[in-house]
Every structure is written in C-alpha cells, then in structure tokens.
Symmetry: C2
C-alpha cells in the first residue's frame, strides 16, 4: 500500500469517527472500490450505516462485489428499491451472480425481480451453474461477431455495448448458431483497413472450457496457456461467456488458501472475510473439528506406549530418543504429502503416475531415513555417555545406537511413503487430496513410529 | 486436459519413440508451446535431441520460456549461432531475461552479444533488476503515446510495433520526460473518431509500482484492483514497463507453492520442474535440512521425558494420554501459524495488528483448550476404568481426569499463542514468516507439552 493511500485511509477513519459527512465524502470519493470496501468492512454496524447514508448508492455499486458475503444483504437493505435496481443493473453479471448467491433465498427472488427482463433471464441462467464451476464464474458480457463481417461492420456491431462489455482484448467469432469458430484481437479492428473481412484476420481457437467444468481447471488453463480470456462453451460448442485472467487470479488465491488451511486441519469453506474480521466463533468452529478427532486418535499412541511400558522401564534411556523417532515420521510424512498434494493441485499428477510417485517417495524415504539413521545413530552412540547416562550392564552403546538408527530409518522411510500415499488414496476414493491434513498423517505415523521403535528395541536389545 | 489433446500427446509419444520424424513433426506442429514444452521435458537427453533436430528452431522459440531452468542451456546449445540469434530475438524481453538468468554466466554473455544493439541495452538493463522484483518481471514492450496526439496519430505511432507489443489492452500516456500521466484503453482508439485528442479520452492513472518493489506486491495489486496491466515506474515516475495479469498468476502460483513447501519444512527455491521431473537428489536436498535440525531439537523432548521418568513409572496410566496432549499442541499451533502466515501473505496484517492477532488467538486458544479439556477429560475419567486400567490406590479417576483436562487445556492455549507469535516474531526480525514451518512449531510445543503435562500431574496427583 502506498504511503499516500495509507494517509487518505487514516484521515478518512477519523472523519468517519467524527461523523463528518462532507470530509468523509471528499476523502472517500477518490478511493478505489477495493479500498473503500476494506474501509467499510472494518467498521461497526452503526458506522457502516453512516457510510452508506453519506456516500450513497453510486459509490456502493462497485463496493458491493468486494465486501464479504455476510455484509452484502445488510448493505443492500439500506437502499430504496429504485436505488437497489440501479445498483444491481450496473454490476457486471458475474459479480451480480456472486452477490445474489450471498443473500437469503427470499431476498434473491426480490432482487432478481427488480432487474429488467433480459437481465432476469440471464441471471437465472447463470445462477443455475454451481458456484465453483466455470459457468458460475464466467461473465456473459463478451464481445462476439460473425466471420462474414468486415472490420467496419464489427466496429458498428460492437459499439452499442462498448461500455457494458467486460473486456474487448479478445473478440470472439461465432457462426449463426452461436458456435465458437475463433477469435480476433481488438488490435485487429483498430489497425486494419475498414473493409478487411473478419474471416481473413481471425485465429481459430481451440482453447475453451465447458461451463460445467471445475473453476480450478479454468484457472489452470488460463495460467498454463498465458491466456487473457478463456471462452466458456456448452456441449455443442456454443459460446456462453468468458473467464478473465483476474478471475483466474481470484480462483487461484482462494484455492491456495483453502489447500493451505486444509493441510493444517482447518475445515470448511475459506472465509471471505479477512483473518481479523472473521468472528471468533467462525475461527473456533473451523478448527475444533479436526482437533477433537485427532485428539481421540492420538490416544491410540498412548495405548502403544502403555503396551511397551516395561521396555521403557528396562532401558529408560530409550525415552531420550522416543519423541525424536516419532516426530521425524510426522515431519517427513508431512513433507511428502505436501509435495504430492501441491503437484496434484497444479495438475501435474495423473492417475497413471501413482506408481512413479510411490517409487520416487520410497527411494527418497530410504535416502532420508538413511541420512538421519547414520547421523542420529552416531549421536546415540556417543551422546548419552558424554552426558553421563548409563545403560543396563548387558547393553552396549553401540547396540543402543544401532537400535535408534534402525528404528529412525524405518520410521522415516515408511512415513514418507505413507505421506505420499494418503492423498493419492484420498483422490482414488473421490475425496479432496488436500483434506488429508498433515496433522492426520502425523497422528497415523505417531502410532506406527512407537510400534517400530519398541519392536526394533526389543529385538536388537533382546528385551 | 481435453481428451483430444491427450490423444495427440499419446500419439506423439509413440511417434517420438519410433523416431518417426514426419509423424512427430505433423503431430507436434499444432501443439501449444506449453504442451510441447511438457512433452519435451519428459524425454531423455537423446530423445530431446531428436525433437530439437526434427522440429527446428522456430518451434522451439516459444518452448524455451516454458521449460525448466536446467534444460534451457542444453537446448539452446543444439542450435547454430544464427538460429540462436533468431530464437532469442523473437522472445519477448521478460521471457528472454528469465532465460538468460537460467544459463551460465559465460553463455549469457555470448547470447547477449548475438542480439542487436538496442536489445542488448534493454536486456542488460532488465538483468540488473532482481529476479523477484517488479523490474525483473516486467516487459518493456509496452504501448506508449503522448497526450497531445490524436487518435489517428496514436494509431500511426503504434502501428510499427504492433506485433512486438506484448499487450495493447491498456496504452499508457507519458509526457516528454517519459513520466506516466495516464492510460487509455485500446477500445478508445478503435471506437473514437480519428481526430479525437488523446488528452480528452485518457484516464489519470495512479496505480503503478516501483521497479524495485517485490514481485509479490505487484501481484497483490493486480489482484486487489482487478487490473489487466500494472505499469512499472522508476523513482521519478518514468514508465519502464508493465506487469501483466498472467505474470501475476505465475507469481501467485509460485509464491503459494513456496509458502506451502516452507510450511512443511521443505527448504530452498521452489523447483521450476514438475514434481515428477525434479531429480531425486534435488528433492532430497530440499527436505533433508529441516529434518536433521528438527531431529536434533526433538531430542530435547527426550530429555524432558527422561527427567520425568519416575512420574511415568509411578502412574503408568499417564502414558495413555501423554502422546495426545503433546500432539494436540502441534495441531493447534500449526493451525494458528497457518492462519497468520496466510493472512500476512495476502497483505491483511500490518505490524500494528500484532496485538489484535495475539488477543484473538489467546481467546481462541482458551476456547479450543476448554473444549478439548472438557471432552477428553470426560474420556479420561470414564475410559480407562472401562478398559480395565487401574491407578495407584491413593489416586481417583476424577483427579486423573482433571490432570489430563488441565494439562491439555493449558497445552492447547499456549500452543495456539506460540503458533501465532512465531511467524509474527519472524517478520519482526526480517525473516520470511512462512519459514516458521509447522514442524518447527510442533517441535517447540512438543517440549512445552511434556513439561506442562508432567508438572500438572505432579502437582495435582501430589507425586
């Protein structure tokens, strides 16, 4: 954020606190809707009311699409029906659909009825697509022309919708059944003689996506092929709308946040509000579920520990390395699952790659386990005597070090493979791989780590 | 990936395996450079050579910018100097700089000298900006005009560079010192009478970024303000170039991947290669560092456990809940750090918000700790007797349950606050917050959890 902007926002905050309408208006007038939305979102209900009254419907039209779900209805409700109509009609159709998805069902019906008939139809069609599909994200306000037009025809054809068309960077060429044939760039219109035929400048376009496809797939295509716009079509290749690069940015940010949160065992939809503006209860609800489940599962590790209590009492030095062996599994399993989950999210791993992934992680697990085994094994042989710890008479520190090394190596190798396999397994049974949270993997390999450690100890130390 | 594309790629794979040049050429001709790059990247060195020989320099020009760092030099080396010149001259300057950053220093010098003088100067200037800055990411191939021009003048002025200008969606208006005044949209040229003055259609532009700013800041601005292009300027507001929305997508994907990897204790730069194509040794190197450090730190937990060995022997049922109390801290600390790190990455948390974050996480920690304490406390009172476990005569299950509950509550509350504070602390000492990996937090709260558990047990159970 630039210093200038910070200063304006600070001054606006005090003007708002003083309920100084004129100053508030003059300070907020120049703000970008995104900044105004953040300012608005940070206020309490009374102050939000003051802002709505002071700035009016025009200022809030673009703000509406930028504020969190929970504030949309409250904000719209403070305007008169004719103001609401003006606001809703001025919002691009993809944002309008987002907004309508955020309000209660009865309100949605009321709001849609405020629109003119064409917009009503269009909105109802868009609302039919799932929120997370390409269709649910697209705008229908796309520039479309016929291949039989000349440059002059195309300019005349596009002129009436000049301001309502979301983007003109690409103009799509369709046949008489609205089927997508190709595209031209706006510069092809601007820089060619007016009698040039569209047919002669168009590029055939094979990059498009079905309206029913997942929004993440659309974002990945825009990213992979460095597209400005991705056309959205139906099963008959009829052009329905476009997804823009800034939609792709939003989709990718949302999906990344969700994946990170899932990986940390935070459940539910990512909150649209910022961290600080999300209610305490919402944070609580999203975190409590996994914590409870994992706490119950972790009691399994306790059972294993009790089962091997005597081993621990016989060679109490085993406690020194027990937490380390167990934790190393969680760490390495978490690394492996993160790599695999991320590669899946970026579309790098197909189902046929499963064997290659497991083979790679198996070798990696053996390498990492080997490294740790050698390193910590040496620590286990020479460390404890240096600190004055002792072992029962019949056990040498060499044997003890060997125990720690073998257990650690085995734990790291198995945990790496388990960490890689769990997300692959999740996908195979149609679960989101990211839902296999690192804490879940840690809990699983905590149990296996204890079993490995004590079993190796008993066998090598003949307990 | 569409079925059609998968089929072409499959057929191409077999044509390549058969060393069938004609079939390979005809199948690869229609491929998008991004798809051809992936196909190329998946082959062994001999096959890559075959592809280079078969498809030639023209096909590889656009592919160069899409293949991993490690293959760029090898690929370029297979062409003759005059082919290299043609390839390098045809690549947009931001991609060219990326490519030159990937080759050895001596080669870089050779390649730059192949370019014409203007491109040499331009490239050397761009190479001076850091790889992760706005300047290092921008393209200088930006459409720029003067405010005194008419629409006709502007069209004539822009026409010679029509094909080399990366994007014309926004055309920037500069004064005689190249200082940024504003911008127009290409549609303002296409749809206005030729004698319209640029001055009358321009929008003053206050969205720009310094060349020295971090690329992540540039991506966040493009995302926040839904921009198609973000102009990059120097300290005197002179227009140097632009960053495009598809650059922003790339930056956001890279940074998200890096943050996720860091959060899992995977160190070093994110590999440009895909997961499967990254060498085993590279994976190994990136994961081994943290694993070793954390393994050594985890021995601290072992020290604590040994120190309290007698407590464990006195009330051996304490083992049943020890792993759970310890793990709950790691889980809740990991959740808190993930939320805070992500909020920081999205630019939501300023330095002044530190107090609010800690206050929020403290209350959350107490709520989550309270919930788990009540729930697992009840399990601890009624569970063990149901399974036939017993306690030393002087200790009741009620007291035992109280011990588990208090220890768990305290562990969860402190871990939540620690998890939130570590990334904030990291930023305060100018470290990347994301580097405070979840495994590191787990290791820290493993130690504190053991201390809390045994201290609470000793005091409540009077051991």
């Amino acid at each position: 954020m630039s210093e200038e902007l910070s200063e304006i926002l600070e001054n606006a905050e005090s003007a708002i606190a003083d309920r100084n309408s004129d100053l508030t208006r003059s300070l907020c007038e120049g703000l970008h809707p995104a900044d105004l939305a953040e300012l608005y979102e940070d206020q309490d209900a009374g102050t939000r009311r003051f802002l709505v009254d002071t700035l009016g419907s025009e200022a809030f039209t673009e703000v509406l699409a930028q504020i969190p779900d929970t504030l949309v209805e409250e904000t719209l409700d403070q305007f008169q029906p004719d103001e609401q109509r003006e606001m809703l009609e001025a919002i691009p159709d993809d944002d309008l659909v987002d907004i309508l998805q955020d309000v209660s069902e009865s309100k949605r019906k009321d709001f849609i009825e405020l629109l003119d008939e064409e917009q009503q139809d269009n909105t109802r069609t868009l609302l039919r697509y799932g929120e997370d599909t390409a269709g649910g994200r697209m705008t229908t306000q796309v520039a479309r022309i016929r291949e039989t037009m000349s440059v002059k025809d195309a300019i005349d054809h596009l002129r009436p919708d000049l301001e309502s068309t979301e983007t003109m960077a690409r103009i799509f060429v369709v046949d008489e059944n609205e089927r997508l044939i190709g595209k031209i760039r706006l510069r092809d219109l601007a820089f060619n003689p007016w009698d040039t035929l569209i047919r002669d400048v168009l590029t055939e376009d094979d990059q498009s996506i079905l309206a029913s496809a997942d929004q993440e797939e659309a974002a990945n295509m825009l990213s992979r092929y460095d597209l400005v716009l991705l056309p959205v079509v139906d099963e008959s290749n009829r052009l329905l709308g476009v997804i823009t690069a800034d939609d792709a940015i939003e989709i990718i940010e949302e999906e990344s946040t969700e994946d990170m949160e899932k990986a940390a065992g935070i459940s539910g939809e990512q909150s649209e509000e910022s961290y600080l503006n999300t209610a305490l209860y919402t944070h609580f609800r999203r975190r409590a579920g996994w914590l409870l489940i994992l706490a119950l599962l972790a009691i399994l590790s306790g059972f294993v520990m009790m089962r091997f209590e005597q081993t621990l009492i016989d060679v109490y030095l085993l406690s020194l390395f027990l937490p380390m062996v167990v934790a190393a599994g969680g760490n390495t399993g978490g690394q492996a699952s993160t790599m695999v989950i991320r590669a899946m999210a970026l579309g790098e791993l197909d189902r046929e790659d499963t064997g290659r992934v497991i083979w790679k992680e198996l070798r990696l697990g053996i390498l990492l386990g080997g490294l740790l085994a050698v390193f910590i094994g040496i620590v286990a042989v020479f460390g404890p005597p240096a600190f004055g710890f002792s072992l029962p008479g019949n056990i040498s520190f060499a044997k003890f070090g060997l125990t720690v090394a073998i257990a650690l190596g085995a734990q790291v190798a198995t945990s790496t493979v388990i960490g890689a396999m769990l997300p692959i397994g999740a996908r195979a049974i149609k679960l989101d791989p990211a839902v296999i949270a690192a804490p879940a993997i840690t809990t699983v390999v905590d149990v296996s780590g204890m079993v490995i450690y004590f079993t190796v100890a008993r066998s090598i130390l003949s307990l």
